[in-house]
């Protein structure tokens, strides 16, 4: 059976403290519930969550959806945004987790990456170093999401062409966004050319695609 691995990189830096982190928790749990009732997702989806603030933490290692349990995501009251470090951990994990197709092993579907941030990387040099490495990993799709006024679209743009901007990180906007994320995930297991990317469904109105 082919797995569809999906990685979430979530910003839990100080600025997320309060309502935003609450909204993020609600939206994630809503998304997981939606996916649990999706026939395709139940059988193929594997999810991992990595959080980043001052430290980077593999909150949930790659886990199949039926076994998945979402813990409450918390964040410190203040502190930097180690986006680069998060990409570094992601690079290591993806290399370890992903099964490539060989004559004796069924390959996974190309993994998807969603990176959510409300600020900009504090570790710019490492971030820049990680960009080409992450791009070389053959993700089926990388979606960057910048939430709130102080989120930096341009840094995410260096990582992926698909960057969406949310004006606020409130509950209803995040819910919309993660509904779109689950729609995108449902696109992730179709046959395509060897180098094609996953087709994105049109984003909801609250979500602005950054061109």
């Amino acid at each position: 059976m082919r797995r569809l691995p999906v990685y979430f990189l979530l910003d839990t830096s100080g600025s997320m403290n309060g309502e935003p982190i609450q909204a993020l928790n609600n939206a994630l749990s809503g998304m997981i519930n939606t996916l649990r009732s999706d026939a395709q997702a139940v059988e193929t989806l594997w999810i991992s969550i990595i959080t980043f603030d001052r430290v980077v933490n593999e909150l949930i290692p790659l886990t199949e959806l039926p076994m998945f349990q979402l813990p409450e995501i918390v964040c410190p009251q203040s502190g930097p945004t180690s986006t680069g470090k998060a990409l570094e951990l992601l690079y290591e994990k993806v290399n370890k987790d992903i099964r490539k197709g060989t004559p004796t092993q069924k390959g996974d579907w190309r993994p998807l990456l969603f990176i959510f941030t409300d600020g900009k990387p504090s570790d710019l040099q490492l971030y820049a170093e990680m960009l080409p490495k992450i791009k070389s990993m053959n993700f089926g799709a990388i979606v960057g999401c910048a939430a709130g006024s102080s989120a930096d679209n341009s840094k995410l743009k260096e990582l992926t062409d698909t960057v969406v901007h949310l004006d606020t990180a409130d509950s209803s906007t995040l819910k919309q966004f993660f509904r779109w994320v689950s729609d995108t995930i449902e696109q992730g297991n179709k046959s395509m050319g060897t180098t094609d990317n996953v087709a994105m469904p049109p984003p909801p109105s609250e979500v602005h695609l950054v061109i």
Binding site: R2, E43, P66, G101, R110, N138, N189
Partner: protein
């Protein structure tokens, strides 16, 4: 026994009452008084009572806040979650009961200390552990601890079956199954819309076609799988199969075929390797023309359709019109001669062609598969670069075989190969093909059987029923053609 005097002393100390040495005797007398002794004993008792109460309250709070994680369940699947109170360090816990299990189809087995049963409801639940701890009095009401329990729905129940839109310009039948004679043999074939398509009401992308050509005596079977991510691939696969037939029906040069056959007969007598080389080259040249014909037929359709229905060509990912039609293609051409069967095959994509010899001791995979490092990555007849790829030369996609006889010739899409063979390496193992045949002949969960007797008129329905097998995570279109 409490030292009453010490207690009084420390009480007075705490209250800043100093007893001068001159009054020590008075104090001693005071301490000895019955009233005082009773009062102190009662204070101590009350203190002990308060401390014990607090200890219990604190402990109960700790137990309630200690997270117990139990695995998720699935409707209809046996569930067992051990709750080891000792391991949790809940040795002082006096278990009473679990609330909320019964309505989920579960119960708590005290012997194994486990939540067991077969869940009947899906959702995000909180079950209640009702308990007391040692030291709590009979009369106090028991404590409640909430434990999260997620029950997944039965995956089978989640699949919807939405019919495809019959008004669509390029509608195609969801399921097709046929049986017929083909040259001197028989063919049974079924092509069924996958659950992933049924679930959203989209079309079957797979297709097949077969024909015996009286003019030349050759028979051909073609199978194609349209790429799920492209909107017109169901037409691509249909066009591809039909164009193969069209080529061998209308464009196969009869004179050239005669020459080809006389070389075959000559080779059978002389066993001249040079002659065999010539035959193989001629075969490749002929099949190459067929594949080019297919490619061009699809291109033609794309060009006409894009003019008539430009609105269908709106995918920003597509680089050429042909991309909308992306389809894999395999086909096998066979003919019986006095000395045996001659087979000519072609394959692009991830669908296998295999032939099993007469006594079933050997099965040969006749093509190599275009499978990428990642699922879904493959190559298509609609990609111009397959015709001149240096990395994967077109010539390597053709195969030429002479066999004395065969029991079965298989052509299938990945919808069959993925669940039944899983990986490429298994396609080269005769044992796996024997298992596959046993599966077809009834060795399966549903005891569904396909009877390959020429007199069996029900064979196409049998194959169609067999093809509905359940395989987790494998819900692509399924197409299987067997020449027997």
């Amino acid at each position: 026994m409490v030292d009453i005097k010490m207690y009084i002393n420390s009480l007075f100390n705490a209250k800043n009452i100093l007893i001068p040495t001159t009054k020590q005797n008075l104090l001693d007398e005071f301490v000895r008084s019955v009233d005082c002794q009773e009062a102190v004993n009662s204070i101590i008792e009350n203190q002990n009572f308060i401390m014990e109460k607090w200890k219990i309250k604190n402990r109960v709070a700790d137990i309630i806040s200690h997270q117990i994680v139990i695995p998720n369940g699935t409707i209809g699947k046996h569930y067992e979650a051990k709750i080891d109170f000792n391991k949790l360090n809940f040795t002082d816990l006096l278990f009473e009961t679990f609330e909320g299990l019964e309505e989920l189809g579960l119960s708590f087995n005290k012997v194994n200390s486990a939540i067991e049963g077969t869940p009947t409801q899906s959702g995000d639940f909180k079950i209640k552990l009702i308990f007391k701890i040692k030291g709590e009095s009979e009369s106090t009401s028991p404590n409640e601890k909430l434990i999260s329990l997620i029950i997944n729905p039965d995956p089978k129940s989640l699949w919807k079956d939405i019919p495809s839109d019959t008004n669509d310009l390029f509608w195609k039948k969801d399921d097709v199954t046929e049986a017929a004679s083909l040259g001197d043999r028989h063919i049974v074939v079924a092509s069924k819309r996958g659950r992933s398509h049924e679930n959203v009401g989209s079309f079957r992308d797979d297709d097949f076609a077969y024909k015996y050509f009286e003019k030349t005596g050759w028979s051909v079977v073609a199978v194609s799988d349209g790429a799920g991510s492209y909107s017109l691939s169901r037409i691509g696969s249909q066009l591809a199969c039909n164009a193969v037939l069209d080529y061998f029906e209308n464009h196969h040069d009869v004179e050239q075929n005669k020459e080809f056959e006389s070389k075959l007969i000559a080779f059978n007598e002389s066993k001249d390797e040079m002659l065999l080389k010539e035959i193989e080259i001629a075969s490749k040249q002929n099949l190459y023309k067929a594949t080019l014909h297919v490619h061009n037929k699809i291109k033609e359709h794309a060009e006409i359709t894009s003019k008539e229905h430009p609105e269908l060509f709106n995918n920003p990912k597509a680089k050429t019109l042909l991309d909308y039609y992306h389809s894999t293609l395999i086909f096998a051409l066979f003919k019986k001669y006095e000395f045996g069967y001659v087979l000519q095959t072609f394959g692009v994509g991830d669908c296998p062609i295999a032939i099993m010899n007469k006594d079933q001791s050997q099965t040969t995979l006749l093509n190599w598969l275009d499978v990428g490092e990642f699922g879904g990555g493959t190559r298509f007849i609609t990609q111009p670069n397959i015709f001149h790829s240096k990395e994967h030369p077109m010539a390597s996609r053709f195969n030429f075989q002479i066999v004395t006889d065969f029991s079965y010739l298989f052509l299938m899409t990945d919808g069959i190969y993925d669940p039944k063979f899983v990986v490429e390496a298994n396609l080269e193992k005769n044992g796996k093909w024997i298992e596959f045949m046993e599966d077809l002949q009834g060795n399966n969960e549903d005891n569904l059987k396909v009877d390959f007797d020429y007199s069996n008129t029900e064979i196409s329905n049998q194959l169609s029923n067999w093809m509905d097998f359940w395989s987790q995570g494998n819900h692509d279109d399924r197409t299987l053609a067997i020449v027997y």
